[in-house]
């Protein structure tokens, strides 16, 4: 049992080092900084969450995220923090930090497959599930805070819009990144769906993983029916409308968010590899 746990811990550590975060000092270029973003790793009280805290901090995940967000022209300070929340998520409050909960990261790791699986004609490995879902939650929380800070008009519920904004970004870094992150996110959402919560559970808002899972599949299929054609049967009657859903999200993003993006810095961000080429090996 100890050996299995050690192997699992090693695999998780390897996954983080390989897929998600590159050593910041070596990799984060000095010209990719966002002075409006502060980052903080808050020490957890629960001992079981401490390894996650230490891994994230050592790998400088938030510094990497801040560099990725360099093109975002924020009008106010935003703090992005990792923290023990007592739950997998804390609802975003106006003016509060964008928070990634250690419990959420633990859930990502718990939901990731131990072995590889064939998904869409490719090997889907544990690393993708971990990296994809982490990229998703980080971009999702930042998107919610950005809508608030920049007073971005959003129709169709902020939570879904934040999901879609994160998905659009994932789709803009090439097919390889799109597969790893979108399918990684979808894997996590499918595994942690609240479909058994009953109707009262839905009163909490957009917390139904199953809906978000299908939204992601629809966004991916709508953006690239060739690459993501394998998800079409899951979408049933909705499939034919996905290209319109994707176009609507893309147009809304271009209209409302893009004016707040520095195009020169964006070109630099897009010119850099954020997931290492040895992903999945």
């Amino acid at each position: 049992m100890t050996r299995i746990a050690s192997v699992a811990a090693l695999a998780i550590a390897a996954a983080w080092s390989i897929v998600m975060v590159t050593p910041a000092r070596a990799q984060v270029p000095s010209d990719l900084r966002n002075p409006q973003i502060d980052v903080a790793y808050i020490e957890p009280k629960t001992a079981a969450l401490r390894p996650i805290y230490e891994r994230l901090k050592k790998r400088e995940v938030l510094e990497e995220l801040r560099a990725f967000l360099a093109p975002l022209k924020l009008t106010k300070k935003l703090e992005i923090r990792t923290e023990e929340c007592g739950d997998t998520r804390v609802a975003y409050k106006a003016g509060a930090p964008a928070t990634i909960c250690y419990e959420y990261v633990a859930a990502i790791e718990n939901a990731a497959p131990e072995d590889w699986l064939p998904i869409g004609g490719q090997k889907f490995v544990r690393q993708y599930a971990v990296a994809g879902a982490f990229v998703h939650v980080a971009l999702y929380e930042v998107a919610l805070a950005t809508f608030d800070i920049l007073e971005i008009p959003v129709w169709g519920r902020d939570e879904y819009a934040a999901d879609n904004a994160a998905g659009l970004i994932m789709l803009n870094f090439g097919r390889d990144v799109a597969y790893k992150t979108l399918i990684g996110t979808s894997w996590f959402l499918a595994q942690t769906s609240l479909s058994g919560a009953g109707p009262f559970g839905y009163a909490r808002g957009a917390d139904v993983g199953a809906q978000r899972f299908y939204n992601y599949l629809c966004l991916a299929y709508g953006a690239d029916p060739q690459q993501f054609g394998f998800v079409k049967p899951l979408l049933q009657r909705r499939a034919d409308n996905c290209r319109f859903e994707y176009a609507s999200v893309r147009d809304a993003f271009l209209t409302t968010v893009m004016p707040h993006i520095d195009q020169d810095l964006l070109a630099k961000v897009k010119g850099r590899e954020w997931l290492r080429p040895d992903d999945g090996k």
């Binding site: 008009p153 959003v154 129709w155 769906s193 009163a203 909490r204 147009d251």
Partner: protein, 292 residues
């Protein structure tokens, strides 16, 4: 020249209050860009007893709607909306319980079957949740019509829908419902909640999560949350005592404020403010509405 100018000012000062009064008393015009039409239900073969029963109900609805001038009233209600294209609103038989917005024809298609369903599922007087027959029938009509109008304005004004289109249409319906006084707000939000609750009770615990619509119960909660977020006192009894958990209640004000911001930035520029004030001051619901 000076004398003429003085006379003109005097005339303006004298005439202005009278003109203002006349304007205030003149009826709100229909929106010239909103074309309305009631299509008559088709009479089936007399031998088809089931179809004849349905036809009679549709015919009664058709006659009530034309007599009341529901669509003309809707066109007046929409008079502040500065549409770039002609929007058509039709009532018709669809052979399905539904209502649609057709972007190819810029047309709202409101089905008699949907209105029949609202009537058939409305309580005789009041149900166990406190929803009245008028709220179920009139509010249900307002909710579905405003939802389809939400799709229409989203299309013609190219609104930035970064979330889900169906939720956006619900948000527009709920937000608009709250801008015309407490009676319209309570009727429309309650009607929406009753409609989706009633549908949930008929469909049971079946959740097509792949669908682009939220589930029936999510829609109940979303309408009530927006209502409470915009007018807490008006929806306190429904929301705090019955329907929403505290965690969601705490977010309703923020949800409403986010909608207000989206409305101000994206829809308000397409609304004639003077006409809007007149529409907001008008009494739209009549005591006899829904009492049939």
């Amino acid at each position: 020249m000076k004398y003429l100018a003085g006379a003109a000012i005097l005339a303006t000062v004298l005439i202005w209050p009278a003109a203002q009064e006349a304007m205030a008393q003149s009826p709100i015009p229909q929106n010239p860009k909103v074309k309305v039409d009631y299509l008559e239900p088709r009479e089936p073969s007399p031998n088809d007893v089931k179809a004849m029963g349905i036809y009679k109900q549709h015919q009664a609805i058709y006659e009530r709607m034309t007599k009341r001038g529901v669509l003309e009233e809707l066109s007046r209600f929409l008079s502040p909306l500065q549409l770039p294209v002609a929007l058509r609103i039709k009532t018709l038989e669809c052979n399905t319980i539904n209502a649609f917005y057709d972007p190819q024809e810029w047309t709202l298609k409101l089905c008699y079957e949907y209105f029949a369903s609202l009537e058939n599922n409305a309580p005789q007087t009041v149900d166990e949740n406190g929803f009245t027959r008028e709220q179920a029938v009139v509010g249900g009509f307002l909710a579905v019509t405003l939802h389809e109008l939400g799709h229409a304005v989203s299309d013609v004004f190219n609104l930035p829908v970064m979330g889900r289109e169906e939720d956006s249409a619900d948000q527009i319906a709920a937000f608009v419902s709250l801008q015309f006084g407490p009676e319209v707000a309570r009727t429309a939000i309650s009607g929406a909640a009753h409609s989706w609750l009633s549908l949930h009770n008929r469909r049971g615990d079946v959740y097509p999560f792949w669908d682009s619509h939220s589930t029936d119960m999510q829609r109940v909660y979303n309408f009530l949350c927006i209502g409470y977020g915009g007018k807490p006192e008006l929806f306190k009894d429904l929301v705090e005592k019955r329907w929403l958990p505290k965690a969601r209640i705490n977010t309703c004000s923020h949800e409403y404020e986010r909608l207000r911001l989206a409305f101000r930035q994206t829809l308000l520029p397409h609304i004639d403010q003077d006409l809007m004030k007149r529409v907001q001051a008008e009494k739209w619901l009549r005591p006899e509405d829904g009492k049939w």
